[in-house]
């Protein structure tokens, strides 16, 4: 077998850079993040592996390590006997400078191997703001930024994660993108690479990419040409090769019980943003909130069964020693057996000092019942409700079906059940939004405090209003919408602040948190951008742009300057962000199939404008979004009728190694 043609430097390819790196670590902040050695980490023999993956979440270790997607793929891949997967994260600028000075390349934290030596470099993008960090990693790895300049010795750079549903802005930098669930996709890609290598790498890199593209579920941007109209809009996107599909499908992992990962969660030594064992209790959401890209692109709903959840929690806690469990999903209170899951886990872990948490966006009393159940242990988690829109009207526009009475009643129930503080989450900059819609947030918060004081007889209650900027996303009914300008957003946020404080007594009990409009605009540019936006990303990175998700590193001016230089007049930032699209416009991601029928999306957009609410297809008839028939999938929900049994304390006592 000729492996030499894949990696000419294979003799030294997988050799650790630890001795060089070790010299730099005393000079950087939080060096432990670069050391590896976490529980759950896997180091395999380089030479014994046929296919080698470097996996990355393109942010600092403290954000990247807890990422579920990377952890799941890491474990799935390493369970294959001939596959090796290691992880790499974005290094902070202090280490980046030292690495450049001393010639230390981008490395994996597991065995400190150069990323350049791997067959595949998979990057999971939860947000577009990680794009500049990808360029840093490629550059430090010694991989050409332009995919067209790479040869057989370079890894295949593959993007995944939700942002990969429109990878056009990074089309120049990646070799491929995978849409949707990764568990099965990474194994399929691995099999293709394994076979191609076994055959002696026929046809080189081009042939390998072609084989990936032929699966119809791996998008290889170089095999598609984009033509533009004179006015700057896209005319069409067409394959430039035979055998390449016109549209690329997303992947859907149907049976979550068959994929109970992570089984061995990574337990970091460094402090990270989430210190808990997280179990995904279902995937997908059909609540139909029109702003929510995650809810649209992850359909249909697929539940993990109560029994698998129970086993995962037990084994995950025993393995990791975490003191907290998070029951995650897009709307966890919607699991068909969530009541039994919560009470079952609360029984099992009573008196153990393990805390259980259930992030949920639902606004109803059921949420409070569940939180009560989970806090039986003594540890009370925070309560967050997400009405998302301040006025009844705007909530109809976004399809977040909750009435004002419901919201007030729910929050008051929380107060009367002993919660002294609740968090309310809203968005600003939604389609059709007026100043008045946003000002309603203040009135709502004041009503909540008034009613809470009346019901509890106490002044010792608070609520925090937290506002996020709305960014229209691809594959949602709002993909055609105009984004509000940062000035509009900032002005509404200012008016809202004044309105909250207009009554001093009530205002004192209301906390107010918000983000400025500027970062949202950049996110908007990257979310709905096309291949022309790649030049902006490159210019920002060349100008020093790093860690754009961090306010202390983000520079709006740098982005705007770069956009002015790199984009053609007329097709500027405003054209990509604050411009409303019409029905016939070819969108940059139209050739990427999330399963959603574009006609249905348009119809839902129109219904949004007429304030028509669309119920959930789990409990009402199918509304023909298109996902199930086009992807050959179906809703998978319980109830199974099973219960969580008490854990028999067989493991009580010290676990002394034999």
């Amino acid at each position: 077998m000729s492996e030499a043609s894949v990696a000419p430097a294979s003799a030294r390819a997988g050799q650790t850079v630890w001795p060089q790196l070790e010299q730099l670590l005393p000079k950087v902040s939080k060096p432990i993040q670069y050391v590896g050695g976490e529980l759950g980490a896997v180091v395999k023999d380089w030479d014994a592996a046929t296919v080698r993956w470097a996996l990355s979440y393109p942010d600092a270790y403290e954000v990247g390590l807890p990422n579920q997607g990377v952890q799941i793929l890491y474990e799935v891949l390493n369970e294959q006997p001939d596959v090796l997967a290691e992880r790499t994260y974005a290094v902070w600028p202090d280490l980046e400078a030292l690495m450049r000075e001393h010639g230390v390349p981008q490395f994996t934290v597991d065995a400190h191997r150069p990323v350049r030596a791997f067959d595949l470099f998979g990057i999971s993008f939860a947000t577009e703001l990680g794009y500049t960090n990808m360029l840093t990693m490629l550059s430090l790895a010694g991989i050409p930024l332009d995919s067209s300049e790479r040869d057989e010795s370079h890894p295949i750079v593959i993007a995944g994660g939700h942002a990969a549903f429109n990878p056009e802005p990074i089309a120049d930098f990646i070799d491929a993108a995978v849409l949707g669930d990764g568990e099965e996709a990474v194994l399929e890609i691995t099999a293709i690479v394994r076979e191609w290598k076994a055959e002696g790498c026929p046809g080189g890199r081009d042939e390998l990419l072609l084989r990936l593209a032929r699966t119809e579920s791996v998008y290889v941007p170089r095999f598609y040409d984009v033509d533009y109209l004179p006015d700057g809009r896209i005319q069409r996107v067409l394959p430039n090769r035979a055998d390449v599909p016109f549209r690329v499908n997303k992947r859907t992992t149907m049976d979550l019980d068959a994929w109970p990962y992570p089984k061995k969660p990574l337990v970091p030594l460094a402090e990270t943003v989430h210190e808990r064992y997280a179990v995904e209790i279902f995937r997908g959401c059909t609540r139909g909130c029109r702003f929510c890209q995650a809810g649209m692109i992850t359909r249909p709903v697929r539940e993990r069964s109560i029994t698998t959840i129970g086993e995962m929690v037990k084994e995950g806690l025993e393995f990791s020693g975490f003191g907290e469990v998070g029951l995650l999903s897009l709307s966890s209170a919607d699991h068909s057996e969530i009541g039994d899951i919560c009470s079952g886990l609360a029984d099992q872990y009573e008196g153990s000092n393990v805390s259980l948490s259930l992030p949920s966006t639902r606004v109803d009393a059921f949420n409070i019942d569940l939180a009560q159940e989970l806090s039986r242990n003594g540890r009370r988690t925070g309560l967050t409700f997400a009405p998302e829109g301040g006025s009844e009207r705007i909530r109809k526009v976004i399809n977040k079906m909750v009435s004002e009475e419901d919201l007030i009643r729910t929050v008051v129930t929380a107060y009367t059940n002993g919660w002294r503080q609740v968090k309310l989450y809203f968005m600003c900059g939604l389609p059709t939004e007026t100043d008045e819609d946003v000002l309603q947030i203040a009135r709502l918060a004041q009503e909540v405090i008034k009613a809470g004081r009346a019901a509890t007889g106490s002044k010792d209650i608070r609520c925090t209003v937290s506002i996020g900027g709305f960014v229209p996303k691809p594959h949602t009914p709002f993909q055609w919408a105009a984004m509000a300008s940062p000035e509009t957003i900032d002005n509404r946020l200012k008016l809202l602040k004044q309105a909250i404080n207009s009554d001093r007594s009530l205002g004192r009990a209301i906390g107010y948190r918000y983000h400025d409009g500027q970062p949202s605009l950049v996110e908007g540019l990257l979310s709905r951008g096309d291949r022309r936006v790649g030049a902006v990303i490159r210019r920002v990175w060349e100008g020093g742009g790093r860690f754009d998700g961090w306010s202390e590193h983000f520079s709006y001016d740098r982005w705007m300057t770069a956009a002015n230089e790199a984009l053609a007049p007329g097709v500027d930032v405003a054209w990509f962000t604050t411009r409303e699209r019409d029905e016939n416009e070819v969108l940059p991601w139209d050739h990427l199939d999330s399963g959603l029928d574009k006609e249905w999306l348009w119809q839902d957009w129109q219904e949004s404008l007429s304030e028509y609410e669309q119920p959930d297809c789990r409990w009402t008839p199918c509304f023909d979004c298109g996902v199930c028939p086009s992807m050959d999938t179906e809703i998978q929900i319980g109830p199974t009728g099973k219960k969580l049994l008490p854990i028999t304390p067989v493991n009580a006592g010290l676990k002394v190694p034999s």
């Binding site: 630890w18 070790e22 010299q23 670590l25 005393p26 000079k27 939080k30 060096p31 432990i32 670069y34 050391v35 590896g36 050695g37 976490e38 529980l39 337990v267 030594l269 460094a270 402090e271 210190e275 806690l317 025993e318 393995f319 990791s320 020693g321 975490f322 003191g323 008196g351 000092n353 003594g378 540890r379 009370r380 493991n651 009580a652 006592g653 010290l654 676990k655 002394v656 190694p657």
Partner: protein
């Protein structure tokens, strides 16, 4: 009802401490880059993984009963870190050490465990012994710098702390500082590069004086430049004898007769 619960206390309450155990542990190799907080988190998880019957503090957010003796700085290895835990059930100290060691990442190693019979760990520790390797520095250069440093009455050095820049005397707390000739020790020379070694005993003072402060002092007082970052290891902690030796802080627990006894 035997009495009123204090205000703002949750019902139930936590089981009392029935046994206290003191551990000696090491921070080795790459794990020397753990900060004290990193170690503390890893240790609390190891307690859960190992099934240790740890006792918790009272209150709405109960904390496991773990208390640490002064921790080696981030980036400094150690063969002699100490902590004490409170347990709600009795265990065999040897088994506890093995269970915790297995539950911690390699490089964070539990070396010893004894049941505490009294006193406090802090009272039995007033100095530390360190070994510092200086790659790229000859033993002769190190010796000369040490001689100049020791001859000074005071060596003021600056350190950046969270409160800003502050000056402290690096000379005062130094009980012993040697740069043994290569014949005395086995220097870890890599590919013909010289590597001097410093043996150092420093009294615990406030603010603490650490190996990097001594190295700053050698630079300030004697122009000793380090081409490559040094590697420091804490070798021991304990009570300082008149002869400048350190007494194992767990010795008194192992053999209660030693408590208060003159140190040999």
């Amino acid at each position: 009802m035997t009495g009123r619960r204090p205000k703002n206390q949750p019902e139930g309450g936590q089981a009392p401490v029935v046994q206290r155990i003191r551990l000696r542990y090491a921070k080795r190799g790459p794990m020397r880059f753990t900060s004290h907080r990193d170690f503390a988190r890893a240790f609390e998880r190891a307690i859960l993984r190992a099934g240790v019957p740890i006792a918790y503090s009272q209150g709405f957010t109960p904390h496991p009963k773990v208390s640490y003796a002064s921790a080696a700085p981030t980036g400094v290895a150690s063969e002699a870190e100490y902590l004490e835990i409170g347990l709600r059930d009795r265990v065999d100290p040897g088994e506890l050490a093995r269970a915790l060691d297995a539950a911690l990442s390699p490089g964070l190693d539990v070396l010893d465990a004894v049941e505490a019979v009294g006193g406090s760990l802090a009272d039995r520790i007033d100095a530390s012994a360190w070994r510092v390797e200086l790659p790229g520095v000859t033993a002769k250069a190190a010796r000369q710098a040490v001689d100049v440093f020791l001859a000074a009455a005071e060596v003021p050095v600056e350190r950046l702390t969270k409160q800003g820049r502050r000056t402290l005397d690096a000379r005062g707390p130094v009980v012993r500082l040697d740069a043994p000739q290569p014949a005395d020790v086995t220097p870890s020379e890599v590919g013909g590069v010289p590597c001097a070694i410093l043996d150092l005993v420093v009294r615990q003072v406030t603010p603490s004086v650490r190996p990097d402060d001594i190295l700053s002092g050698l630079l300030v007082a004697a122009d000793l430049e380090l081409p490559v970052p040094p590697r420091a290891t804490r070798i021991a902690q304990g009570a300082l004898t008149a002869q400048g030796e350190l007494v194992d802080p767990l010795a008194a627990d192992r053999d209660p007769a030693v408590i208060g006894a003159p140190l040999s």
